[in-house]
Symmetry: none
Subunit: 205 residues, 4 copies
DNA sequence: TATGAATGAGGGTTCATTCAT
DNA sequence: TATGAATGAACCCTCATTCAT
């Protein structure tokens, strides 16, 4: 039996992770099959178990890797905003966050978070406390950064005190909705917010 | 082999639908098994195929039945608000909507919508265009009613023109988040909105 | 797709157990596949998991059922020997035991015991202490009955005190060897013992 | 990627054979994996196929090498016994044989023989007639030497004519049983034989 | 020689679905 | 109506084996 020529010089592990993220985002964890992932990655099905321990392991590895990438970009945005005028800062911040999150990679990430949040999966493969928590990391991260940003302004009375976690969560929902509803462009939504020139407050707190 | 005594006067079909909604909400469509559902319903596994065509058929039937119930309640709320003072009406409306959606039955419904929205499932069991669309019906319904309510007021300049679909979607997200984040109580969130006495505008639309 | 006609009135569970015993005896636990078993039983491969929890469960169930049958026959032999003359009793007993053990069913049982005894299987599917012990039950049973029979005679000095467990074990070895070596007929061996007319003692104690 | 430094002066082939014998003895042929063997040997998994043709080839090579070693020791014992007094010779012989067989290396060998004898493996990897036969070589060897030793004495009527093959087989069973039953020490068993000073006959033939 | 990466066939197991009763 | 038994396709995963280096 002849075998496929080995594609040397390419990182198969990375290929698997890329394919996994998109397949999991499309199908959900349960419906996604190893075959789906490896076919999209162009590798053999057994190779998954050379690089990973299980299907769930692939899931978490893919999520974590891409989440780190997105979070790094978000951090960069928050660093920049420091120098901005507080009066216009929040609107600018939101626009930049949306720009980061509105990329194929981030959209997939957000989809996955959405699915996980939507189910309790008490006895399933994704049930362990720690791992379930790690899924929420992007939303938590975003929430924490938003909180840090708003805290001083709230003290000054420039912003309303609303749960940052909720705000971050709503933002991720919005992003996903922008893809599934199609007719709702989140950027336009936030643009709209600014055009109205909210005097001091904002919709998300 | 003796058979279980027939529970006369009990609608087995309904038992299945009740069980299905909660199981699907907990596990997601793929992870939920027919066995899970029938065990929770206390009926034989084969009975599903007497009343329904397939697992997916159970899913849609369960969703639709419970969605109709919730939508009827929402409609009642919108009927009542007609008589309210437009100035305080929106805050009152939101509170009532939350009250309707914050019940076990509705929460399960919202969870399921969440899961479905989070995935495109292009080739899966839930893939047909029509059916996928039917899942969004609750959000669409809510969105349409909100739109109808706000339209005249927007014309008068009393409210900002924001996509009603997005607003409805955010509301469902909020409800679900209230269950998974635990520390965020949506009712308190909306209470907060009102306490601030938003002068003319509102956060969602 | 047409399906095979369902053979009603036959006990599929029993068919599986019968097939399992012979397949396990032939191939060993690891090498035996569910496909082997179900094909020999003439049933579908999935049916195993309707009646049993796992492949190992089939193994133990098959072993136990057939072991009980053989042990019952051995008990009957020991009941009969009570009335025999102690002088000729042992030779008679051995002949009868061999007759019981030298049947296809018992031979398969003995083979399986042989395999299990031959391996320590520290981390395998058959490793649990209890279950491993249960495998030895036939040898232990035989050993205990032999001990009970010999004890009074040993006190009188009519027999040599030799470990009964060892004796039982050697007997099972002999039986199996009679099948694999082919040229060694255990019945002839024991016949030989008697023909020599051992005066009072015996070879096995 | 750097590679492990080559351990010069170490025979990797031999390392594999040593590891293979113990792993096969512990797990059995089917349950033992190449990974088990190579990890215990401290070498790369692919190296097996540099020195051997297949897993089965490793099995036979390991068995044969160690069997040759043990058989050489047994031969030495039989050479020595020539000079012994025939009256006490057999007991002495048995004790010496047991001493040879009751070593870790020989025990592993006996275990493997035990497993193979316990199964017919008609279609498995170990099925070829020749190879299956080779497994029995130790028992056959022992049997033949015992036969050669006893033949003249049987002619003189000093010993009973019993199948030597069976006797050898029983001895190996005894040895293994001494490990798995734990409470049966074969050496004590054979000691017992001698202490009783069997007048002319012996227990095994 | 020796290694790590890659392959693919097959294993145990699950589960939606069907059928006889 | 309702049930338990039966089916088969597909899933996740293992592992002997091979290849490039």
């Amino acid at each position: 039996m002849p075998r496929k020529p080995t594609m040397t010089g390419v990182d198969r592990r990375q290929q698997i992770l890329e394919a996994a993220l998109s397949v999991f985002a499309e199908r959900g964890f349960e419906a996604a099959t190893n075959k789906d992932i490896t076919e999209r990655a162009g590798v053999n099905q057994g190779l998954i178990y050379f690089y990973f321990e299980s299907k769930a392991d692939v899931f978490f590895a893919a999520f974590e890797q891409h989440a780190r990438f997105v979070m790094a970009q978000l951090n960069a945005v928050f660093e920049e905003v420091r120098d901005e005028d507080p009066a216009t800062g929040l609107a600018w911040l939101l626009k930049r966050i949306v720009k980061v999150l509105d990329t194929p990679r981030a959209i997939n990430l957000l989809r996955i978070m959405h699915q996980v949040r939507g189910s309790r999966t008490p006895g399933g493969a994704l049930s362990s406390q720690e791992e379930h928590r790690s899924i929420g990391m992007l939303a938590e991260h975003l929430g924490r950064r938003l909180y840090e940003y708003r805290e001083p302004q709230i003290v000054r009375g420039a912003l309303w005190p609303v749960k940052s976690g909720l705000a971050a969560y709503l933002m991720t929902c919005t992003l996903i909705s922008s893809r599934s509803l199609e007719d709702v462009r989140p950027s336009r939504y936030f643009d709209q917010c600014r055009r109205r020139e909210l005097p001091t407050g904002d919709n998300f707190g």
